[in-house]
């Protein structure tokens, strides 16, 4: 029961908000790249924000629902369709039994998120369902979703839509300002920012960088290399985080992403603000980014306000779902 993968996608994994607390063992947090999209996906179907979701890349493969589900898709727009009927993103959908989910075209973004009401039945490892492919643990037995894999749902429910058509529920999340100005990514100074030459700092501000094709969930390589240093010391390895801007020896910037290593010894010239990581996560190979420096205080305000926004989205979706339930009496 649950979902079954009919056709394997290029990189589809189970992820939650991450496996925190084990960096001391060299185990990175992993988790979803776009925490905003995954959290909204969960909110839309009445889940807690950090429930496990499927993170889907394009080509996305095909998925069949072996039982009815209340589901939502957020993040990248891969033109999803259920039994050949297009379904919108950022909106909860009642999916009938045997509904076939396909994605036909990559219209925007890099990764989309599929959430189901009640969450998926996943393998937890060290307290998290996130898939760690290197270690082979968590999520779907520690590996990508392949054809014929089934993934359980903890909470199925009967619905009345008899004709095999999806039913759109009457609420959605429209306010997605965090993806605006798509190529402008804000960052704050890192500990080694002042090792850079002044010209180099200015160069960073006016360069339009390109995300190289070697970029993935571990890190985004930016080109061209514009970094020049007035200080060059050997650094003793220390902790790094999702969003750290590492200065590589060849003058390039490497932005550490969700699957980053836990420690690094390269100069940390900055850190992408947490509130802009979802936006960056939806930028893919060959797209451009500019880097805009802001203060730590601003960055902190942004991440707190994002947390408040998500909290409000969750509350309102929860109420909508309760009202809908009361009216239509489907089982929750």
């Amino acid at each position: 029961m649950g979902l079954q993968i009919i056709k394997q996608g290029v990189l589809n994994t189970v992820q939650d908000a991450g496996r925190f607390g084990f960096a001391g063992w060299g185990i990175n947090p992993g988790g979803v790249m776009d925490t905003y999209a995954s959290r909204v996906a969960n909110a839309l179907v009445g889940n807690t924000l950090d429930e496990a979701v499927l993170e889907i890349h394009f080509p996305a493969g095909e998925i069949v629902f072996k039982e009815p589900a209340l589901a939502s898709i957020t993040g990248a727009d891969f033109s999803p369709a259920l039994n050949d009927q297009p379904i919108p993103l950022w909106r909860p959908v009642l999916i009938p039994k045997d509904g076939l989910l396909r994605f036909s075209k990559k219209a925007w973004g890099e990764r989309c998120y599929l959430a189901v009401h009640g969450g998926f039945g996943t393998t937890r490892w060290l307290g998290s369902s996130s898939t760690n492919l290197k270690i082979g643990a968590g999520g779907n037995g520690g590996r990508v979703l392949k054809a014929n894999d089934t993934i359980g749902m903890r909470n199925a429910f009967a619905i009345e839509a008899a004709d095999g058509r999806p039913v759109l529920l009457p609420w959605s999340v429209k306010r997605r300002t965090i993806y605006e100005n798509a190529d402008e990514i804000s960052f704050i100074e890192g500990p080694e920012w002042d090792w850079l030459k002044d010209e180099s700092k200015e160069e960073i501000a006016r360069t339009s960088f390109v995300i190289k094709s070697s970029s993935d969930r571990m890190g985004y390589h930016l080109s061209p290399g514009v970094l020049q240093f007035k200080v060059t010391e050997d650094l003793v390895s220390t902790a790094v985080t999702f969003g750290t801007l590492q200065a590589m020896p060849d003058g390039n910037i490497l932005i550490l992403m969700a699957d980053h290593q836990t420690t690094g010894g390269y100069p940390r010239i900055g850190h992408v603000t947490s509130a802009d990581l979802p936006k960056l996560s939806q930028r893919g190979a060959n797209s451009s980014v500019t880097l805009k420096k802001i203060s730590r205080e601003q960055a902190e305000k942004m991440v707190i306000s994002l947390g408040q926004q998500l909290r409000a989205i969750r509350e309102s979706c929860k109420n909508n779902l309760a009202n809908y339930h009361a009216k239509h009496r489907f089982e929750l």
Partner: protein
Amino acid sequence: MKQYSIFSVGDQAVSISFGNQIDPHLHRKIVAMKKLILRDAIPGLRDVVVAFCSLTVIYDAFLISEVEKFRSPFDVVCAMIENAYANADSGTSQPARKRIPVCYDEMFAPDLSEVANLKKMPAEEIIELHLGRDYRVYMIGFLPGFPYMGSLDDRLRISRKQTPSPRVEGGSVAIAGLQTGIYPFPSPGGWHVIGNTPLRMFDKTASPPCMLEEGDEVTFFRITAEEYRSLNSGS
């Protein structure tokens, strides 16, 4: 004068750094600080990462902001770290002692003769120097379960390979700078491999999954290829 600096490493992490020094007494203090911070954990604390001469607290700024109305999450975490620095007693935690068998035979030590050449010493002397002292685990990083241990005898100091090897075997015991480490899995690597241990440094099914932890004291002892094989098949 302050002996440390505290700074943000992103908008949801703060580090305290004690410079670029590698010192067992300082490290003992850092490990004690971590214990203290975890003991008094506040909502929103996500991780505490010990490195050679730094400690980093990773947190959820929104969760902290919900309980702390008058201070910024950054200020809250800075105060937490300052407090841990003031109160952590490095004498309280006795390091765990671990013994690790290593076979230094040629078949397990692809870079030993090269190291011997570079250091103008017989291979046997390299081995003796490597076995000649206990090491402290300063940090686990790079790969899950990879221990950064130090410090080597100064006569073994060697820079990393110019070009990393595309594949280093799991269990490889290697040296670089004044550090020695063990590759838990096959991986590309830039350190010089001088031996191999049959022990598994990382096992996802074990609890805890890592053989070593920061703060541990490690003694290497030498085994023959035959002993290696029997230990390897027995594990």
